[in-house]
Symmetry: C2
Subunit: 344 residues, 2 copies
């Protein structure tokens, strides 16, 4: 089968690609070709993907790539490409173009191509937000009314409904999965307002200071990169019956306070590492984060066999194992001690 | 002030225009010009509007008219233009273009013009529908989770969220009001799957047979043209605080069974008129209607002082009063007797 990943050279996209190539199949069908469409080429860290003969990378804006998709056959699509929350707040037109127009163009291209591919759309927990008429519950559920408080959340919600309608009409077999905040992301901070959730772990582990722009009491639903990728694949492989309808579902979340994240960082990597996190409130980020949910539950995803991490220390350890070169020798050793102590 | 009504020569649009001209003001500000943008010219029945010096009619597709709006000042906008449910199911591309793309273009034109007009978007009770993960309650509320089961309902919901986000960003002062099924509509049947709700009253009153394509036990939330127009104006004149948030609100509904509609028709106009309604099931319409709500409540609209009709007979009488030329002499006389009997 031919599989397309939009945003395929990004962090989640390339990690998903690697997992799919390792499995070699989706839904029991061998993957013959994996097309990674992205505005950026594969980073050096993903050289393994570039060397796989099944991988084809296409660099260019998604909106412009869609024309070609109209005359191609894809059997499966993971639609991950997206401008992130901070970018969308800063540049309204960019957000609409990158998220709404591009998704519309992709869905239309697949409709016109006529092969009815299965498609997973990566929506986001950012669809939820408090409105004067709709206070947000402490934990957002699959069927919590979304009233998004950011353009990013608005676009994700709008696209969930477009995916559902193209599916109802039989143009695709689509499903939307709401990703929790994926952490720890490697590399540089990105434009997401949630970027600090990775930064406050990643930078200290590299021996660098990190800015915490919100209060440590802030609670948030997060997930590791590995569980996120696992979730996307499980949602792809589920039948519509197992999905329990066309409405979007939440992926599993570990609901955690920033203070608990920092406690876990200290437990795994030591006091000195945690001390590198400096609190420095940022009103813009505080305002955006105040509109996000404090936690999530994922009943439908659990029925697909998906579970969140048990504790945040596991997420810190996953990052250290996956990116040893980005972690100081001292922090790596502390983590090894911690794991021995836990009896791993 | 300058006011724009998209879909302004249509049934609800021209009725709204007439009411605004009669009032002469919105929010206490005199209306200097009323622009009616529509793909069709004013019908002959609306010659009074054409003669009003405050009225300017612009004929053309909304998508094409939006370019000009970028350099115009509008202080108020009623965005009513829309392809209807049956059309959207029959022609997927037309629906997306007429409802999603046109709304996007209108909102962008208003954003670029930069005058931050107040805007009322006419959404619809069709945003609600049953999904496997989200059964519909017997009465849909302002905060019922919408999982639309038609393209029309999808577009309306998507545009509600776009209006909310353009409002959050300060580009417009927008609010979305979900119209109930407006009945009795005069003239010819339109492409809406709900068209029969008017047809089964209008045609018999004119002495003609009408087809009832669904079971008489079907229940549905309806509103008269007059109350609908009153609702749109009240939503325009409300402050955002009175609106109670940016999320769309339901307009008041009279929740009524088709059999009760026919009973009211008989009570007002006589047995012979009711006998002109012939049951003839239409699977396509039945399927669409099965995905609609059976009734609605409108808590937020009630707080704005809006109320539904008390009984369906009032809606039948409103039609007879407003369109005497489209009603047989016999039915008009029966209605006059009925009103006398009620002590009107």
């Amino acid at each position: 089968m031919r599989v397309l990943i939009t945003g395929g050279t990004g962090f989640v996209g390339s990690r998903l690609a690697r997992e799919l190539l390792k499995r070699g199949a989706l839904n029991g069908e061998p993957i013959d070709q994996l097309v990674l469409a992205d505005q950026f080429p594969l980073p050096e860290a993903a050289a393994d993907l570039a060397q796989d003969p099944r991988v084809q990378v296409r660099v260019g804006k998604l909106l412009e790539q869609c024309e070609a998709f109209k005359s191609e056959r894809f059997d499966g699509v993971f639609h991950l490409a997206s401008a992130v929350s901070g970018e969308c707040e800063a540049d309204f037109e960019l957000g609409l173009r990158s998220n709404l127009d591009s998704t519309r163009a992709l869905l239309d291209a697949l409709r016109i191509a006529g092969h009815r591919p299965r498609l997973v759309f990566s929506s986001s927990v950012a669809v939820f937000g408090p409105d004067a008429s709709n206070p947000m519950p402490p934990l957002v559920r699959d069927d919590t009314l979304p009233t998004p408080q950011t353009s990013y959340g608005t676009h994700k919600l709008v696209c969930e409904h477009l995916v559902a309608d193209y599916t109802r009409k039989g143009f695709i077999d689509g499903r939307s999965a709401r990703l929790m905040t994926v952490t720890v992301r490697p590399g540089r901070p990105n434009g997401a307002a949630s970027s600090f959730f990775s930064g406050i772990i990643r930078e200290p582990l590299a021996g660098q200071e990190a800015i915490l722009p919100v209060d440590p009491s802030v609670s948030h639903p997060v997930s590791s990169p590995a569980r996120t990728v696992q979730g996307l694949i499980a949602v792809f492989e589920a039948t519509q019956e197992q999905m329990g309808g066309r409405a979007a579902l939440n992926l599993p979340a570990l609901n955690v306070k920033v203070s608990e994240m920092l406690d876990a960082l200290e437990a795994v990597a030591g006091k000195g590492v945690r001390a590198l996190v400096k609190q420095q409130p940022d009103p813009t980020i505080q305002r955006i984060v105040a509109g996000w949910s404090k936690g999530a539950v994922a009943a439908r995803a659990e029925r697909l066999g998906l579970q969140p991490e048990k504790e945040f220390a596991d997420i810190v350890l996953q990052y250290i194992h996956d990116h040893p070169g980005a972690v100081t020798e001292q922090a790596r050793r502390a983590a090894a001690d911690y794991e021995r102590g836990r009896g791993h």
